[in-house]
């Protein structure tokens, strides 16, 4: 990432059955998006609790995406 510009760090919780598969398909389709997200696979977006989201912000995340 370019050090001169602000580049957000985004944690993305992705449901194994939908969002994670969709992100896989984005790859298969060779779509392009900024390299700022760090995906974490979960077995359902329902398992993402406020604790996880707050923990991400505490650890320095600039944004959190829950895909499910």
């Amino acid at each position: 990432m370019n050090e001169d510009r602000f580049e957000p760090k985004i944690i993305a919780f992705m449901c194994n059955w939908c969002a994670y598969g969709a992100a896989d398909l984005a790859g298969v389709s060779r779509l392009s998006y900024p390299p700022n997200i760090r995906p974490i696979r979960v077995m359902c977006s329902a398992t993402v609790s406020p604790h996880h989201i707050l923990r991400a912000f505490q650890s320095g995340a600039d944004g959190v995406l829950v895909g499910g």
Binding site: L31, S32, R41, V48, R55, A56
Partner: protein
């Protein structure tokens, strides 16, 4: 090995290699315009000129074709080298000033304007085209002339038939000097076209080596022998040079494999109707007239325009799109496809909805139709919603589709119901093409000896919907008649059931048991993690700097072994990985490669083979989530790959082995409902070899079918039901329980315990699966004088008269049918699916009895879908009159002595008509029993119309979300007998997949609740969608049934004390991933 110096560093290369190849290996960049890995180097562009010191003197050589030798010294970026290159670029710039690659080079070397005379050529004479043409085995073009006269040309400057228009020259040309158009105009006499991509319905081209579509199984590229140049000239084979693992073998031949089988299932699919056969559709003349399949691809994210809704001719976003229904369907006169294709109405509505969603601008959608046939589950609601969204549905006949001069628009002229002629202009026009069976399939059928009907569909009877005319051969999908996905999936399972019934005794006789090493106990060992980083050929390695990532992975905590693989998933790598796990004593493994969704099971198997618990494994998705989506930013992709591996390692450090235990399966079934569906499921399961308890609440088997006379194909329903009842009674494996209801149900897939209650006693049975086939009932109308006048009756009551050959039928002179009585209204907003066919069939029967009887059918849309359309045509031929009525102008019925007078508005004449009828048959709806208690007992859902709700309407049409429980028949939705039977066979097949197991595995990724942390608040029980958590009131804690838990982890998120932990995804593991993602 040859050692020499490259820019002062010692490097090594193989004998026979050229300087450029070795430089590339060591990452030293040398510019070139005429080099191609698959071709002999030619030293044409001179850009790769480098300085060579041979021990005595310095000279300049071209790196691409100068062979390396021991002790030489090469310099690639000295000032003289740069000066030389700059001069070369300047000369190229003077020759070809407008060529992008030359301009880019000129920018790099700081040349604004060349000092030489500027020409306007586009060819840099690199010779790539002529060399590749030679490699293709053709030499249709070569460099002709000398000196300043030199150019790429054909012999004698005339178009040649030697050129096969393969396009290789255009593909390699760095400047665009050669294009497909140029090949067409100057080089080849043969047809120059792109190879149309089958997947994109010809809207895009594809290569001779291709993966048919992204989800293809197996997901491997194949060579199209009819297009590949090698199979025409024996030349090329460049692909074999490029394949890093030598996987391409052009010498492979087709093989004939003989198999011994007990049954055959035919599922050959269908073709879409080709509208170019008829010029009336203007499909070939107008670029913006597309087929529905092409439109489907245009809407798709993986389609030719990446899901961006544009029209083909000028890529303009359309603002007005029209759909024409029944193209190649319901048309005996021109295309011989008299049947209805069943699916086009629904897909057209879907396309209007999706197009509206995709469109940036407000979109005007109009569907021109004869009858909207939305007869499936929830389809009418979908239709209604589209109408509410503003989609226009125009009942009309279109007679002309024509161009609008000066534009790419499409004009259509049509006649509305009242006879007015209208013209509308659309940006784009979609032809809703029907389904048909192609000649190849017909030929195959002939070879096998199965009978087809006049439309090339298989001849099947209503009672054997997947049977063919040859015993042991079964068919499913559109081959048995036009149908949609849910019905095809049902038939697929049904044919699997039918095909295996008589093979039940052979089950498991050809299986081998896999022997696995014992699992190593790693509980006392500190983590020893192995990381395997995959290049995936160039898929990852071409973007992510894998060696750098490998070095990085070595620095991560507890990582003791890191390796780079070319293809981690190849069998030899798997074997090697297994050896490494053992040699290195690894107890946890990370594979940084593609996606766990496709490859986790494969690598887990490798762990099992190495004696490790398969859950001591994690994947870092550095392909789909990284190299493929960040191909334009290798540095960022490399950093992300490091992060993803660090996150995976952080989690892996905290992984623990998870247990799966085997629970034995009760090899028997419970079938609830003794109608045709229930009996068919019971008989099928019994034939599969499993004991069945068949429960019927009334005192007799047969259900609604007892009241039916004939099927649409004129088969006697009574005789069939009689035979089926006898089969049930005589089948030893079926235990029949009549006048019995279901009490309590406990347990889970493979292990249910159910109470059966009758008048005398309650007994508890154990069973592995349950099939719910509780049926539906006829709606008893409150409208149209039903129950108040003898002339008014329902379908079932009319069938009763036909069954008895009641003399009343012979005295009848005027018969009226009113359709949609109780269906498609506010209370029952669905189509009852069978009534149109039933009325039309009954009308024909009246006409057969006495051709002078007047029969009128008052309808909203005639929904004689599929092959049933023949009946509709026959009825019209027999003189049955059809009048459409609208829902806000329903017919009115008044009594007149023994007769009733039916008054309605004819929409064509636009005036009121009245018929004095002896018999008024109401096509009354089919409605749910609304059996909430049954649904509750089995914890299965009912939808808002009272139908049992399957796990997935398209892909799992007979399953419930709860494992081990299946559904079929009219409890799912109204349907004709053949569909009920197919669904029952499908349910039996799905049930047999459970019953065929010795045991089921439970555990793995499931929740575990720590009793010491649980406060008994019941929060988890309330959120669990699977009913997997129960409350132990004595211990005052919640407990998880691992057999029911699907591992979603919703309970873990809701618990205030973090008592439930989703194993393999517990909070500490997730926190570790979060932390490591953000802290390098």
């Amino acid at each position: 090995m040859i050692t020499f110096k490259l820019n002062g560093k010692k490097v090594q290369g193989e004998e026979g290699q050229f300087i450029l190849q070795v430089a590339e290996k060591y990452g030293v960049e040398i510019p070139t315009l005429c080099h191609h890995k698959g071709l002999e180097p030619a030293g044409m562009c001179r850009l790769c000129t480098v300085e060579l010191f041979d021990g005595r003197r310095t000279r300049f050589v071209t790196a691409c074709n100068y062979p390396i030798w021991e002790g030489m010294e090469v310099k690639t970026d000295t000032e003289t080298v740069h000066e030389g290159r700059k001069l070369n670029v300047e000369l190229l710039m003077a020759r070809c000033p407008d060529i992008p690659v030359v301009k880019t080079l000129a920018d790099q070397y700081g040349i604004e304007k060349p000092r030489f005379k500027i020409k306007d050529d586009t060819c840099i004479l690199c010779g790539l085209c002529t060399r590749i043409c030679q490699r293709m085995g053709n030499s249709a073009i070569s460099l002709t002339g000398r000196g300043v006269e030199m150019k790429v040309d054909t012999p004698f400057h005339i178009q040649t038939e030697v050129c096969m228009a393969c396009g290789a020259c255009a593909f390699v040309c760095p400047t665009g000097h050669i294009s497909l158009d140029k090949i067409k105009e100057n080089i080849s006499t043969q047809t120059v076209i792109k190879i149309p991509s089958e997947y994109d319905a010809g809207l895009k081209g594809r290569k001779p080596i291709y993966v048919p579509y992204a989800q293809a199984v197996p997901n491997m590229p194949a060579i199209d022998r009819t297009k590949c140049v090698h199979f025409k000239t024996d030349g090329c084979k460049i692909c074999a040079d490029f394949c890093p693992v030598g996987a391409i073998d052009h010498s492979q031949q087709d093989e004939i494999v003989e198999l011994d089988v007990g049954s055959i299932v035919l599922a050959p699919g269908f073709d879409v109707f080709d509208p170019s056969r008829f010029d009336t559709y203007a499909y070939t003349q107008l670029p913006n007239v597309v087929t529905s399949l092409e439109f489907e691809r245009i809407l798709s994210a993986t389609g030719p325009f990446s899901g961006h809704l544009v029209r083909p001719s000028d890529h303009k976003e359309p603002q007005k799109i029209g759909w024409l229904q029944c193209v190649g369907s319901r048309d005996l006169n021109r295309c011989d496809n008299a049947y209805c294709s069943s699916v086009c109405c629904m897909y057209a509505i879907k396309q209007t909805v999706i197009a509206t969603e995709h469109s940036q601008n407000p979109l005007d959608c109009a569907v021109f139709y004869m009858d909207m046939r939305t007869h499936g589950k929830d389809f009418d609601k979908y239709y209604g919603n589209a109408e509410k969204q503003g989609v226009r549905f125009v009942r009309s006949r279109i007679h002309t589709i024509s161009p609008v001069p000066g534009t790419d628009d499409v004009a259509v002229r049509y006649i509305e119901e009242d006879g007015t002629v209208k013209e509308e202009v659309f940006d784009m026009f979609v032809l809703s093409v029907g389904l048909e069976i192609n000649q190849d399939i017909a030929d195959l059928s002939k070879r096998i000896g199965i009978d087809l009907d006049e439309y090339r569909f298989t001849k099947t009877d209503s009672f054997h919907p997947v049977g063919t005319s040859v015993e042991g051969i079964y068919a499913c999908g559109v081959f048995t008649g036009p149908k949609d996905i849910p019905q095809s999936v049902m038939e697929a399972s049904a044919s699997a059931c039918a095909a295996t019934e008589h093979l039940a005794s052979a089950r498991n006789t050809c299986t081998k048991i896999l022997e696995l090493p014992p699992e190593r106990d790693v509980s006392s060992e500190p983590p020893k993690i192995g990381v395997f980083v995959c290049n995936c050929g160039i898929n990852i390695g071409g973007v992510v700097k894998v060696p750098e990532v490998v070095q990085y992975a070595k620095t991560l905590p507890n990582v003791v072994y890191v390796e780079e693989n070319l293809f981690s998933c190849s069998q030899d790598t798997q074997d090697k990985m297994s050896d490494i796990i053992n040699q290195q004593g690894l107890n946890r493994v990370v594979v940084a490669a593609c996606t766990p969704k496709t490859h986790e099971p494969l690598f887990q198997e490798t762990l099992i083979n190495a004696g490790l618990n398969k859950y001591l494994f994690e994947m870092a998705n550095i392909r789909n989530h990284d190299s493929w989506v960040h191909a334009n930013d290798p540095d960022a992709a490399t950093e992300k790959a490091k992060d993803l591996i660090r996150m995976a390692v952080a989690k892996t450090n905290l992984l623990a082995p998870l247990k799966q235990t085997d629970l034995p399966v009760s090899h028997s079934a419970l079938v609830i409902g003794g109608g045709i569906a229930g009996m068919t499921a019971a008989v099928s399961l019994a034939h599969q070899g499993y004991p069945v308890d068949l429960v019927e609440k009334s005192d007799a088997l047969g259900g609604n079918a007892l009241m039916l006379s004939k099927t649409a194909q004129n088969e006697d329903v009574g005789a069939f039901v009689e035979e089926l009842i006898q089969t049930v009674n005589s089948e030893d494996r079926i235990t029949l329980h009549t006048e019995t209801t279901i009490g309590n149900v406990e347990g889970f897939v493979g292990n249910f315990k159910t109470e059966l209650r009758n008048k005398e006693a309650t007994q508890t049975i154990e069973h592995g699966v349950a099939v719910i086939a509780t049926g539906a009932k006829e709606y008893k109308p409150v409208e149209y004088l039903y129950g108040k006048h003898d002339a008014v009756m329902t379908h079932l009551e009319l069938d009763e008269l036909f069954k008895k050959s009641d003399p009343r039928l012979d005295q009848t002179e005027n018969v009226v049918f009113i359709q949609c009585v109780g269906s498609r209204d506010k209370e029952r907003p669905y189509c009852s699916k069978v009534c149109c066919t039933h009325s039309v069939k009954s009308a024909i029967d009246f006409k057969k009895k006495n051709p002078n009887v007047n029969v009128a059918i008052l309808y909203r849309d005639i929904r004689t879908y599929g092959k049933k359309e023949d009946l509709y045509r026959q009825a019209r031929e027999a003189g049955v009159l059809f009048f459409s009525y609208s829902v806000d102008q329903k017919p009115e019925v008044t009594a007149d002595g023994d007769h009733v007078v039916v008054e309605f508005t004819d929409r064509i004449l636009n005036r009121k008509l009245a018929v004095k009828a002896d018999i008024l048959c109401l096509a009354s709806a089919i409605e749910s029993h609304w059996d909430h208690s049954m649904a509750q007992i089995f914890k299965v859902p009912l939808d808002s119309d009272g139908w049992l709700l399957e796990a997935h309407q398209k892909l799992r049409p007979v399953d419930f979300a709860n494992d081990g429980i299946f559904l079929c028949g009219m409890a799912h939705y109204p349907k004709p007998i053949e569909e009920s039977i197919a669904q029952a066979q499908a349910a039996a097949a799905r049930a047999a997949t459970v019953l065929a197991l010795e045991s089921i595995k439970v555990g793995g990724i499931v929740t575990d609740i720590r009793a010491d942390l649980c406060s008994g608040c019941l929060g988890c029980i309330n959120v669990c969608p699977y009913g997997a958590i129960t409350f132990d009131a004595q211990k005052y804690v919640a407990e998880v049934n691992a057999a029911l838990c699907k591992g979603c982890g919703a309970c873990a998120a809701v618990c205030p004390s973090e008592a439930p932990a989703l194993m393999g995804f517990n909070n500490n593991q997730l926190y570790a991933q979060i932390k490591s993602a953000l802290n390098a």
